[in-house]
Each structure stands twice: as structure tokens, then as C-alpha cells.
């Protein structure tokens, strides 16, 4: 019986340590994400993505917000405003675009980009104002033309 109590105490202690470790990790989990190896929920081009938001914002919000999206389009602008690294993609309607806030580890790729270059960007969709906004973006250069 004594042995059983010792085992129970030992298991409880280990469980408490693991739980404390997990809780600390959860509370301090960084918001910076690396999406390179995470599968996307949707894969579409910049024109279709923006058209979906313009045509039915509520439906597009439901489909895309909070999801990881791969968007293919042409580079309209590269910006370092506010100390951020941002790529803006063209769409057919010049009033709209796709703003991609790029992860810090993508700086080398960002430096190689040129205006009108075709790229695929994977990021977390936050919604639509006059542009679709993607954060934590990973740049895929495989589609370069």
C-alpha cells in the first residue's frame, strides 16, 4: 500500500510539473508565426480573393478570416513603412489590393522582389477594408515568372 501511495504521489508530481510547463508555454506563446510548413486552408489568386470580399463581405469573412490563405498575384509595391516589411499585390480594380505583412525571416526574399513579379504569399487573413489584409506572411518564390 505504501508503494502504491508513493507511485501515486510521483505520478501526481510529474503531472503537475508537465501541466505547469505547458501552462507557462501557453501563456508566453509568441504571436510571431512561421507558416512555411503549415498547410493553407485556401489557395487562390489575388483577383478572386478580393472579388469574393467585394461581392459578399459577410460570406468572405466567414470563409477566410482567421484562416491561412495562399494568394498568387503580381507585386504592386514593396514597403518598409512603420518598420514593417510589406508586399502589396495588384488586383484588377486599382482601388483594391492585398496587403501582406511579411514575417521577419522573409527579409532576404523580400529584397529580391521586383514590381510586377508574380509571387505566391501564404498568410493569416485578418479581413478586408479596401485591401485584404494578411499577416505573418511567408513568400514562396517558386512561382516567379
Amino acid at each position: 500500500m505504501k508503494t502504491f501511495k508513493k507511485i501515486l504521489l510521483f505520478v501526481s508530481l510529474i503531472t503537475l510539473i508537465i501541466w505547469s510547463f505547458w501552462a507557462t508555454l501557453s501563456v508566453n506563446k509568441s504571436s510571431e508565426k512561421n507558416l512555411e510548413k503549415i498547410n493553407s486552408d485556401y489557395n487562390l489568386d489575388s483577383n478572386d480573393l478580393v472579388a469574393n470580399f467585394v461581392n459578399n463581405t459577410a460570406k468572405a469573412n466567414g470563409n477566410y478570416v482567421g484562416k491561412i490563405i495562399e494568394v498568387t498575384g503580381y507585386v504592386k509595391q514593396i514597403s518598409f513603412l512603420n518598420n514593417r516589411k510589406t508586399v502589396i499585390l495588384y488586383t484588377k480594380n486599382q482601388n483594391y489590393g492585398v496587403i501582406c505583412d511579411v514575417s521577419n525571416n522573409q527579409l532576404d526574399k523580400l529584397k529580391t522582389l521586383k514590381k510586377h513579379q508574380k509571387i505566391t504569399v501564404k498568410g493569416t487573413c485578418k479581413g478586408f477594408l479596401m485591401d485584404v489584409i494578411l499577416l505573418n506572411c511567408y513568400i514562396d518564390l517558386k512561382t516567379n515568372e
Partner: protein, 182 residues
């Protein structure tokens, strides 16, 4: 304000016809930062994709931002902010529309007051905000800061977390505008 209402605002107040848009400027990557300081915890979040349009002829300004585009240092802060406090599923945007009071288009640098309606968490409140306006080569920059009380926008903080969240939040903004060509 939902998406349709915001677009109506943009395309009615800021009439995008060629004749009328000479004095219109747009910032698609405006920055809004908020700070909550308490003895327990300091919380800071930044939104770098804030949309704003100003019409200098009419002296009008509109701002819209997605609440889910605020970036926090920790994931848990983001979750609490969007799910418990701001309820981003119900109120995905914060908006402001107002007038630039005592603004002189001929000055390169000036301090002006913006008076208007700030809507957060579905609650609209009249505010007056001091802002620095700079014009360099026809590119305008607006910067400033103000304080907002959490209770004014019906944001409920659970008692267990009330010591972690300040009762008043400091908000800083920085918009760099370019001529609005459409």
C-alpha cells in the same frame, strides 16, 4: 459600422470622381498603437494596416481598422482582446469619422484638432483629438495620441483580470497619406 456602411462613407463623403479627388489623400498602412499600463502587466498592441482617407477641401477624415489586425507580443493577449473584450466576431472594425478643425492647407506643419465620432465595440462616442499635421511634397503625415476609457465603450473586463487591464488606454496614431488616385 459594417463593411457596406464604410464603403458608402468612402464613396459618398469622399466622392471619388476625378473633379473632386484633387484634395483627397489615402493611407492604407496607417499605424495605431495602444498601451495599457498597470502595476501587474503592461500590454501593447500595434495595427499597421489602418485605412484612412482625408479630404482637405472639405476638411474631413475617415479611419477604419480591423480589430483582428492588432498584433500583440503574446498569443494569449490577442485571444483575450478579440474574444473576451472587443468581441471581434460581433464588432470586427473600429471606425472614426470627423472634421479637421482650424486646419490651414497652406501651412507645412501645424497642430490641429480633429472632432468626430469614434466607434469601438459598437459604441459611438464624440471625441476631440489633437494632431500634428505635416505636409512634405504633397504627402501628408498625421500623428497624435489620446486616451480612451474602457468603460466608455462598454468593454467588460472580468473581475479576475481587472488588475491586469488599465481603466484608460493610451492610443497613438501615425498616418502617412499619398494623393488618392482612382
Amino acid at each position: 459600422m459594417n463593411k457596406i456602411a464604410f464603403l458608402l462613407l468612402l464613396f459618398t463623403i469622399f466622392n471619388p470622381s476625378k473633379e473632386n479627388n484633387k484634395q483627397q489623400y489615402i493611407a492604407r498602412q496607417g499605424q495605431v498603437t495602444f498601451f495599457s499600463y498597470t502595476s501587474v502587466e503592461n500590454i501593447e498592441a500595434k495595427n499597421n494596416q489602418v485605412l484612412s482617407i482625408i479630404d482637405l477641401e472639405k476638411k474631413e477624415i475617415a479611419v477604419s481598422m480591423l480589430m483582428r489586425a492588432f498584433v500583440f507580443k503574446k498569443d494569449l493577449m490577442y485571444e483575450h482582446f478579440n474574444e473576451s473584450y472587443i468581441e471581434s466576431d460581433l464588432y470586427p472594425q473600429a471606425n472614426f469619422k470627423g472634421k479637421l478643425v482650424d486646419f490651414d492647407v497652406n501651412l507645412a506643419k501645424q497642430t490641429s484638432t480633429i472632432k468626430g465620432t469614434l466607434t469601438i465595440h459598437g459604441i459611438a462616442k464624440e471625441v476631440a483629438i489633437k494632431t500634428m499635421i505635416e505636409n512634405k511634397n504633397n504627402n501628408y503625415k498625421l500623428t497624435g495620441e489620446f486616451i480612451a476609457a474602457v468603460k466608455d465603450f462598454n468593454i467588460k473586463i472580468p473581475a479576475i483580470l481587472s488588475s491586469n487591464i488599465a481603466k484608460t488606454i493610451n492610443l497613438k496614431f501615425r498616418f502617412q497619406y499619398q494623393p488618392y488616385e482612382n
